[in-house]
């Protein structure tokens, strides 16, 4: 029987949705509470019930009657107040702030890596990974950096054991990929790298790099410039200029440092670019034949280029962040800005 009562209540709720005028509400009141109304019909069922259930059911119907009266009276009040604006006791404030859900954020370094990945994905580069704890061979010898060579001075390194170290560059991944895959190769390898630099505003003993490598037949220095130019224009903006300077990396030849025109001052010179109008963003070059030799590639047949960039550096440039340590303090007031 109580199912029946529930049904009545549900029907009423549906019907209240149709109330527009005071008249609608009054009619609904008659339908449910009038002398020949639905509630009275329910009352008429009582005598038919077993004696022990009569009292309880009667009580339930009475209770329902009160509920229905309340609901309908509420509607009558509402439609009449809309029709005749009287003194408002309560005013809905449409200007109150919304209940905002918290917005989470990816770490700014992840955002930069994602952006870099996206640009290079459009150029057909796949993302690959390599170990952070590496054999010395992959970090040095295979990359044409022999031991006791002065170029090692540029690569101070954390060691675990004699021949095991924390990679000081993501170039290690180049070798691992080329060892198990034949050309054509088109990869980028993002990841953490480690160097025992004393921590200050510009140095961190751990930072992130993205390494890139393209090997195929007929790849030239002009292609390297073309690909990097695509990246720079897409990532930093179409009006940004690129400049290459000769440099030295043991694993590339010819080697270049790549600068972009300073976006802060537009090339006129400011403190960010040390008043040169240019900021260095990555190192690049044609893969040295000795590297190909280490992975048993035919250096006459294949040529290729590699490049590497510091994720922190690019992020700092992009947002004007002056202290690298902020990335690892993870202060919510910092992270929430990106």
């Amino acid at each position: 029987m109580s199912d029946k009562l529930e049904e009545v209540k549900r029907n009423l709720q549906d019907e209240t949705k149709t109330i527009i005028t005071r008249k609608d509400a009054e009619q609904l009141k008659i339908k449910y509470l009038g002398r020949k109304g639905i509630v009275n019909d329910l009352m008429k069922l009582i005598p038919a019930l077993p004696t022990e259930k009569r009292a309880a059911f009667g009580q339930q119907v009475n209770f329902l009657k009160i509920e229905i009266t309340d609901i309908i009276e509420e509607f009558i009040k509402r439609v009449s107040s809309e029709a005749i604006p009287k003194v408002k006791t309560e005013i809905f404030d449409i200007t109150l702030p919304g209940k905002r859900p918290l917005i989470g954020k990816k770490h700014p370094l992840t955002q930069t890596i994602d952006d870099i990945k996206e640009v290079f994905a459009r150029l057909g580069f796949d993302v690959v990974y390599g170990p952070e704890v590496e054999l010395e061979y992959y970090n040095f010898e295979a990359l044409n950096i022999p031991s006791d060579h002065p170029s090692r001075t540029d690569f101070d390194t954390f060691y675990i054991r004699d021949d095991v170290l924390l990679r000081s560059q993501t170039s290690t991944v180049q070798i691992r990929i080329m060892e198990r895959q034949k050309p054509p190769i088109r990869i980028i390898a993002p990841g953490r790298v480690y160097r025992p630099d004393t921590v200050d505003a510009r140095h961190s003993f751990m930072f992130h790099q993205v390494e890139g490598l393209l090997v195929d037949e007929g790849v030239s220095f002009a292609d390297l410039k073309g690909v990097l130019n695509q990246f720079i224009k897409t990532y930093f903006g179409q009006n940004i200029q690129m400049r290459l300077r000769p440099s030295f990396f043991p694993f590339t030849e010819p080697s270049a440092e790549v600068d972009i025109s300073c976006s802060i001052c537009g090339g006129k010179g400011c403190s960010v670019c040390s008043y040169s109008g240019w900021v260095e963003i990555l190192g690049a070059g044609m893969v040295d034949p000795n590297v190909f030799k280490a992975v048993h590639y035919d250096a006459e047949k294949y040529t290729g280029f590699a490049f590497g960039m510091g994720v922190e550096r690019i992020t700092m440039l992009k947002y004007g962040i002056s202290d690298i340590r902020l990335f690892y303090e993870n202060d919510m007031r910092f992270l929430s800005q990106f």
Partner: protein, 666 residues
């Protein structure tokens, strides 16, 4: 390397301002990091890459300037005044290690007057940051800065037995270097010794006992070549580096030794008088000239631009290469002795490109179009990141190298210890982490101290577990959230659904008091494998909030994730819902109830959903009431109420039989 602008102009004719000169040098790879005015001169600080030791002398820089800008070169005077005596009367030189010392030359100058060097020389040395000492030392420094060839002057009268021996150090020998450092020497180090003891560490630094002083009358001037790696090893082993070792490590010009020696003697004679002994002691290994062929086709192929043969030859000539042939397709040439870095065709290609100008090479790509697909690691990491930041989480990045405190030593994944760094930056931060959670806890504390009380953070990074040759680097996802237990657990469960992982998780009692609150932590198991650890943060951690911690093996999630989707027909017949509440012992976990129900093998039961646990007045002590909802559905018809009632009764029966539950009346 610091150079003086005026000094440079002595060797090459240029009419460029220091700034213009700096720009031109930068374009050929000699980056000028700084220009400082010094009186009427300028000091240019040039970054010389380790492959270009020839530019560690001002003449070398002058050669680059001439190649890049043009302008003729002038080399300094070396006319030596003729001799009065025979050098062999004063000293006997022998080289026991010809491989480590391929060339050793010496001169003797007698009856000199040690005094301050002339003002012009002092001024130039001061301009590039060298402290003037006396005319002899200053001349050796001056010539080194000019030519890039280190020299060393000994006080001839202090050399025992009139002997110089280039040999390995002997066990027990030690030396006090000119800078005052006393060092024990080892057998693998090369020294310059007199008849009794080492008087210099070959190529690194001279000894204090035989250095030139104000009372010195006669000098022995060494000008030699020492093997690069030997010098580097010794310098590093002793912790002594000098302008000399810096140059020897990178390699000096073997053909420049005689010139430097003569130049120094000439200047000494000019500044300190004295008599130059006739002859040169010259112990030498022969150097071969390097001949290389550059193929024009290869040049074109590597650079992607056709550089005319004339242009290439012109560049190579400017770089002092000796062109040997005149055939169309090749250039055969001889490389000058000071360019030890050029030994292959590719080195020549770089040289041509460098002087031709990197910025004159076109920017074009002829590479073909190729598609790239995201790998599963990226997809899973992206999916998790997007899911969590959508729920208001912040991603953090913390250091992989951590301290060795008890908290950081937590190792959930392995019985073995962490991996230590042999040469840490700071002794207290020397270990590769075995869990991300301690770093997240520290991040929470950092933010607490900076006014952020509530945080929800996660990190995706590696932990480093002891392995064989290389450690096992496990990708982990760790979360610290200021939520209650069930909220974070639910987030984790939903994230599994989001990754398409269908395997069920088992939650097994776990204890790690450094991280988790007692009795509120679990090891999470999936298909019999541990995938993670979860629990309420230990109260010992001192948080002011209720926080939960989770660390999951991301590699397993990557492996189990499944993004292949297949459409399932929508159910055509209605679902019937029934609620049930049972009173059980406190010890009975929900998982047993759920298992008991699913084990009952009910034909139309689709889902069991927990919704409430209640302890209170109507429930006896030591018991709890658990309420849940059951969904029944048939794929091919509408279920009748009686059918569902029968199934419900079967469920109640097995719950009563197996778990001894009591039905709670509603």
């Amino acid at each position: 390397m610091k150079i003086s602008y005026n000094w440079l102009k002595e060797y090459v004719d240029i009419c460029l301002s220091p700034q213009e000169l700096a720009d031109r040098l930068t374009n050929v790879g000699l980056v000028v990091a700084d220009i400082q005015p010094v009186e009427d001169d300028f000091c240019l600080d040039i970054e010389v890459t380790s492959n270009r030791p020839d530019c560690l002398g001002i003449i070398g820089v002058a050669r680059e300037v001439a190649a890049a800008v043009g302008g003729s070169l002038h080399f300094p005077e070396t006319n030596v005044v003729s001799a009065h005596a025979d050098i062999f009367k004063f000293i006997n030189v022998s080289v026991e290690e010809p491989i480590l010392c391929p060339r050793y030359t010496a001169k003797v100058v007698r009856h000199i007057t040690v005094a301050p060097s002339p003002e012009w020389m002092q001024k130039r040395l001061t301009c590039i940051g060298l402290r003037p000492v006396n005319n002899i030392v200053d001349v050796t420094n001056y010539v080194m800065m000019e030519t890039g060839q280190p020299l060393h002057a000994f006080d001839l009268d202090r050399l025992a037995e009139q002997k110089i021996i280039v040999r390995k150090a002997r066990i027990g020998e030690e030396i006090v270097a000119i800078n005052g450092a006393r060092r024990a020497l080892f057998h693998d180090m090369l020294v310059i010794a007199d008849g009794r003891r080492p008087v210099a560490i070959a190529g690194v630094m001279g000894g204090a006992e035989t250095e030139v002083s104000n009372s010195t009358r006669n000098i022995f001037l060494e000008c030699a070549e020492f093997e690069q790696r030997q010098v580097r090893r010794t310098s590093r082993a002793l912790g002594i580096s000098s302008d000399s070792s810096y140059r020897f490590e990178r390699g000096i010009d073997p053909e420049g030794i005689d010139h430097a020696s003569q130049r120094a003697v000439w200047l000494i004679n000019d500044c300190a008088g004295g008599e130059i002994s006739g002859g040169t002691i010259n112990i030498s290994e022969r150097h071969e000239t390097r001949k290389i062929t550059l193929r024009m086709e290869r040049l074109h192929k590597v650079l992607g631009v056709e550089i005319k043969r004339d242009v290439a030859i012109d560049i190579l000539k400017k770089l002092q290469c000796n062109i040997l042939n005149n055939v169309d397709k090749f250039i055969d040439l001889e490389v000058p002795s000071f360019r030890g870095d050029i030994s292959r065709e590719i080195d020549l290609i770089e040289e041509v490109a460098r002087i031709y100008g990197y910025n004159n090479i076109p920017t074009k790509t002829s590479i073909d179009v190729r598609g790239s697909t995201k790998n599963k690691v990226e997809i899973v990491e992206d999916t998790i990141r997007q899911f969590l930041i959508g729920l208001g989480f912040y991603e953090v990045k913390t250091f992989s190298i951590v301290d060795t405190s008890p908290l950081q030593s937590v190792n959930l994944w392995s019985d073995k210890g962490g991996i230590d760094i042999a040469n840490p930056l700071r002794q207290e931060e020397s270990r590769l982490r075995t869990s991300l959670l301690p770093s997240l806890i520290n991040t929470k504390r950092y933010n607490m101290h900076h006014g952020t009380e509530q945080i929800k953070i996660f990190e995706i990074a590696k932990v480093y577990l002891a392995g064989n040759k290389l450690p096992h680097e496990k990708n982990c996802l760790s979360i610290l959230a200021d939520t209650d237990y069930l909220t974070l657990k639910g987030i984790f469960e939903s994230s599994l659904v989001n990754l398409g992982i269908l395997s069920e998780c088992e939650w097994i009692t776990f204890s790690e008091p450094r991280l988790f609150r007692d009795e509120r932590a679990a090891r999470i198991q999936m298909d019999g494998m541990t995938v993670g650890y979860f629990g309420e943060a230990s109260q010992e951690l001192g948080f002011k909030t209720l926080s939960c911690l989770l660390e999951v093996d991301l590699d397993v999630l990557i492996e189990k994730s499944n993004f292949i989707k297949k459409y399932q027909n929508l159910p055509q017949y209605p679902t019937v819902y029934r609620d049930l509440a049972v009173i059980v012992n406190e010890e009975t976990p929900w998982s047993s109830i759920e298992k008991c129900i699913t084990d009952t093998k009910i034909a139309f039961l689709k889902e069991v959903n927990f919704f409430d646990v209640y302890r209170g007045k109507q429930i006896p002590a030591g018991k709890k009431s658990i309420a849940f909802n059951l969904c029944f559905q048939s794929p091919d018809r509408t279920l009748r109420s009686e059918e569902v009632d029968i199934e419900l009764q079967a469920i109640v029966d097995s719950l009563q039989r197996i778990l001894n539950v009591e039905l709670r009346k509603t």
